[in-house]
């Protein structure tokens, strides 16, 4: 609704960074009016609030001083840039928490809980990704958050959600993607599931959590009403398998058996050839796909051998009829060719192709997306400068910015407790001595 922009937005003129030290201030201007009290971590949570931080929201990570932030298994975990170890040296943690502020609060203590209450009162959003129900048992069910701040946006994210028989079950990315169907649909025929080789659902769960946060904030702008959004990783995962679910239920198919999936083949839309074929060199591969008969004619011309240029394989139906034989012939041809050179040649001929690129190739090789600035360098007080993941989007007026590394444990206690919550120096010292911060 175009009229919405003329309506005064709730909190629209607030600047959460007003008066803060210049070295802390976010550069992106997009979300300066948003403050996030962030109890989330690992990747499934930190990956969501990272997006808000990149766009200039003031994200304040709350960590536990008693376990030295140990709830977040990524803190201090490998990979490391050099020989130094310890909770400040984890490369993944630095990547996932760039541009955030960090404080410590011991929520087992009354004074720790009181400080969290005061922080929530001046925040727009509360985020966490404990197992279902844990934050409520710490004394902060949604009803309590609402008492503290009536229009609060509260987003919780757990593997199985806040209700249901598995609520208390524990998960991590590989479990979520296995239970939600995504591991099953990644594999080769006759083989066990290959899965994803990484916590794909930590990424997708984090993105869903960010979408939920933004949508709830948009609604708050329109109506003044906050709310609780419960995100269950397994449900996010299943929501990425829609056509499979429709196909099986609507068409009355029986569930597939393990080993029946070949996800390198073309499914929707149907394509052949469509696969990942050997290239010259050890463990080198090229992906290629013929979207239609024209793509195939172009590929056949590149191959130039009688089996390809003849009429037998001119139609999709013919190519689908014996894909094993087609793939074997194609593999025999690609195996002797350099993957990058062949991909360049096929792309120039109009055929979709790409080598399976290693991290070194896609990050420091010729960029598929030139001039994107996808790998910004941030500065961490202990690690020093390090490249991290940028965002795959650019906004023409209020783009993202990442320059500060992840917060050290409790690095911003003084700013948040002192400047934002008005706790004086004497009381801060007392809180530290008591172990409340």
């Amino acid at each position: 609704m175009v009229g919405s922009s003329s309506r005064p937005a709730a909190g629209g003129l607030v600047d959460r960074w007003a008066g803060c030290p210049a070295d802390l201030e976010a550069r992106s201007t997009a979300l300066r009016r948003i403050r996030v009290c962030d109890l989330s971590g690992q990747l499934a949570g930190a990956g969501a609030t990272r997006i808000l931080a990149a766009f200039g929201a003031q994200v304040i990570r709350v960590e536990d001083p008693a376990t030295r932030g140990g709830w977040d298994i990524v803190r201090g975990a490998p990979p490391y840039r050099d020989e130094r170890r310890g909770i400040e040296f984890g490369g993944g943690f630095n990547n996932h928490n760039t541009e955030k502020l960090g404080i410590t609060l011991n929520l087992r203590t009354e004074r720790g809980r009181d400080l969290l209450t005061r922080l929530i009162a001046i925040s727009d959003v509360v985020t966490e990704n404990f197992a279902g129900g844990v934050f409520a048992r710490l004394g902060f069910p949604y009803e309590r958050l609402q008492e503290i701040r009536p229009d609060i946006v509260y987003v919780s994210h757990s593997g199985f959600g806040a209700t249901g028989p598995y609520r208390d079950f524990r998960t991590w990315g590989p479990i979520v993607q296995a239970v939600s169907g995504l591991t099953f649909t990644a594999g080769l025929e006759g083989q066990p599931p290959a899965g994803w080789g990484f916590s794909y659902m930590d990424h997708m769960g984090a993105y869903a959590m960010a979408i939920a946060t933004f949508a709830a904030l948009w609604h708050r702008d329109q109506t003044g009403e906050g709310q609780w959004v419960d995100v269950a990783g397994v449900e996010v995962g299943l929501s990425l398998t829609g056509p499979d679910i429709l196909d099986h239920h609507l068409n009355g198919r029986t569930p597939r058996a393990p080993g029946s999936v070949d996800s390198n083949r073309g499914g929707a839309p149907a394509m052949a050839p469509h696969g990942i074929y050997p290239a010259l060199g050890e463990d080198r591969w090229i992906a290629l796909a013929c979207r239609d008969d024209l793509d195939w004619r172009r590929l056949a011309d590149e191959i130039g051998q009688p089996w390809a240029v003849g009429a037998e394989l001119a139609t999709l139906a013919a190519r689908l009829a014996d894909q094993d034989a087609l793939d074997a012939r194609l593999a025999a041809w690609t195996a002797g060719l350099d993957g990058q050179e062949l991909a360049d040649r096929l792309v120039a001929a109009g055929i979709p192709a790409s080598p399976v690129r290693t991290p070194a190739e896609r990050i420091d090789g010729a960029a598929a997306t030139p001039d994107w600035d996808l790998w910004p360098t941030v500065t961490h007080p202990d690690i020093g400068p390090m490249r991290v993941e940028g965002l795959p989007v650019h906004l023409s007026e209020t783009d993202w910015s990442l320059r500060r590394g992840a917060p050290r444990l409790g690095e911003h206690n003084r700013f948040v407790l002192g400047d934002l919550l008005g706790v004086d120096e004497a009381e801060q010292a007392e809180l530290t001595a008591e172990g409340a911060v």
């Binding site: 990979p79 169907g181 649909t185 990644a186 990484f198 609604h219 269950a232 299943l238 390198n264 007026e397």
Partner: protein
């Protein structure tokens, strides 16, 4: 109850990479109109199909990715169509498109000047390599994007004579589409302050590059290159298998091996319950683990007995997994506080008791055929403004007439 984005107006040009973000916005309550060319969107030709009969109204790809939207046929190649498009655009919050570079002229919008004409419009482009500085129209599909952008390199088997694997389900559109939605909503939240829209450029390739987890952070941190392994994280140097085929032929996923004393005690109890003590003599090591108060990871390097206990617990988990149906193993672990999962197909997963108890699956009836479509339900549960499929996917141009007459008002 209406969704959180009630009132938001979105014009989507139908396409592979605009469909998913359009659905996300529509199911969240936005008023989304998908613009199809004469003859309908090419994605209506994508299977699977209802009744296995290819037809534009039977494409389950279309049925899924276009829920809660209305469809308007407009020929953007013709003057009348373009004029109508511009009228609709004047009244809309978000334009969502993934047109190939050669077709962007159809929009008659210039990224440098469109905001003079449509000052509050948020224009979102989702294209394989982004609009900024990329070579025009490099041919690409989900497969080639996943291969070039990172995920495929992570994924496959311990046996590296087998090719690496692309995860199924058209995931590149989901990854990029998720960023498209977050960026569009960011631009809208900023517009509430500034009153002005802007252009949002999304690259599918870049989105995959930053959604490949350890492969990327490992390389950025120490230059290491991870290697793919069956059913578990690609790593530098490799790790022990975690995927086990259960007694019923399905697979389970083991979590990190147990460490606490009570974990060892409960595995002993379980081994006895299943009657495996006689064929698993190492059960005594587990009993020892319980007696000594568990095993800390740091002890493994220095204490050979700790390592033996640790290994015995992994062996016990593998044996239990092999002797039990996958689902029973999963429940047995989780009820004992041990992290584990089972590998379900999507069609099995949606019928899982937990998801049934949460009322996850969402049935939508197509009024034209009477067929009941089972869709995945809410990926996020808003307690005031529920996620909802407000209408089944539209037929080709179903709302052309009403929309051109009444404009954005919902019918």
């Amino acid at each position: 109850m209406t969704g959180p984005l009630h009132g938001l107006r979105v014009l989507e040009i139908a396409g592979e990479f605009s469909a998913y973000p359009g659905k996300v916005l529509a199911d969240l309550g936005a008023n989304v109109v998908v613009v199809e060319p004469p003859g309908g969107s090419a994605t209506r030709g994508w299977g699977p199909f209802a009744g296995d009969l290819p037809a534009p109204e039977a494409s389950l790809h279309w049925r899924h990715y276009n829920t809660s939207k209305r469809s308007v046929l407009l020929d953007l190649g013709d003057g009348t169509g373009r004029e109508r498009f511009r009228v609709l655009l004047a009244d809309c919050d978000v334009l969502l498109e993934g047109l190939p570079a050669r077709d962007t002229g159809l929009l008659t919008l210039d990224p440098a000047t469109f905001s003079d004409e449509y000052p509050s419009l948020v224009w979102v482009s989702v294209t394989p390599f982004g609009r900024r500085g990329s070579p025009p129209d490099v041919p690409a599909t989900d497969l080639t994007l996943m291969a070039g952008g990172g995920p495929v390199h992570n994924c496959g088997y311990d046996d590296h004579t087998l090719p690496p694997v692309r995860g199924g389900g058209g995931q590149s559109a989901h990854v990029a589409g998720s960023f498209a939605v977050t960026a569009a909503l960011t631009a809208l939240l900023h517009r509430a302050v500034s009153g002005r829209g802007q252009h949002v450029d999304v690259s599918v390739d870049a989105a995959l590059n930053v959604s490949s987890e350890l492969a990327t952070t490992q390389y950025l941190t120490d230059g290491g290159i991870v290697e793919r392994q069956t059913g578990r994280h690609a790593m530098v140097g490799g790790s022990a298998p975690t995927q086990v085929q259960a007694a019923d032929g399905h697979h389970v996923v083991l979590g990190f091996p147990p460490r606490a004393a009570e974990d060892y005690a409960s595995i002993v109890e379980w081994v006895d319950l299943v009657g495996l003590r006689d064929e698993f003599p190492d059960v005594v090591l587990l009993e020892l683990g319980a007696e000594r108060g568990g095993v800390a990871v740091i002890e493994l390097a220095t204490d050979p007995l700790a390592q033996e206990i640790w290994n015995a617990s992994r062996d016990a988990m593998v044996l239990l997994a092999q002797r039990l149906p996958a689902y029973d193993f999963f429940l047995g672990c989780q009820r004992r506080g041990i992290v584990a999962g089972f590998v379900a197909s999507p069609e099995e997963a949606v019928a899982d008791p937990h998801l049934v108890a949460r009322g996850f699956a969402t049935e939508v009836t197509d009024p034209y055929t009477g067929r009941v479509e089972t869709h995945p339900g809410a990926p996020y549960r808003f307690n005031h403004t529920a996620w909802c499929i407000s209408r089944p996917a539209p037929r080709i141009g179903e709302h052309t007439e009403s929309f051109l007459k009444t404009g954005w008002n919902e019918d």
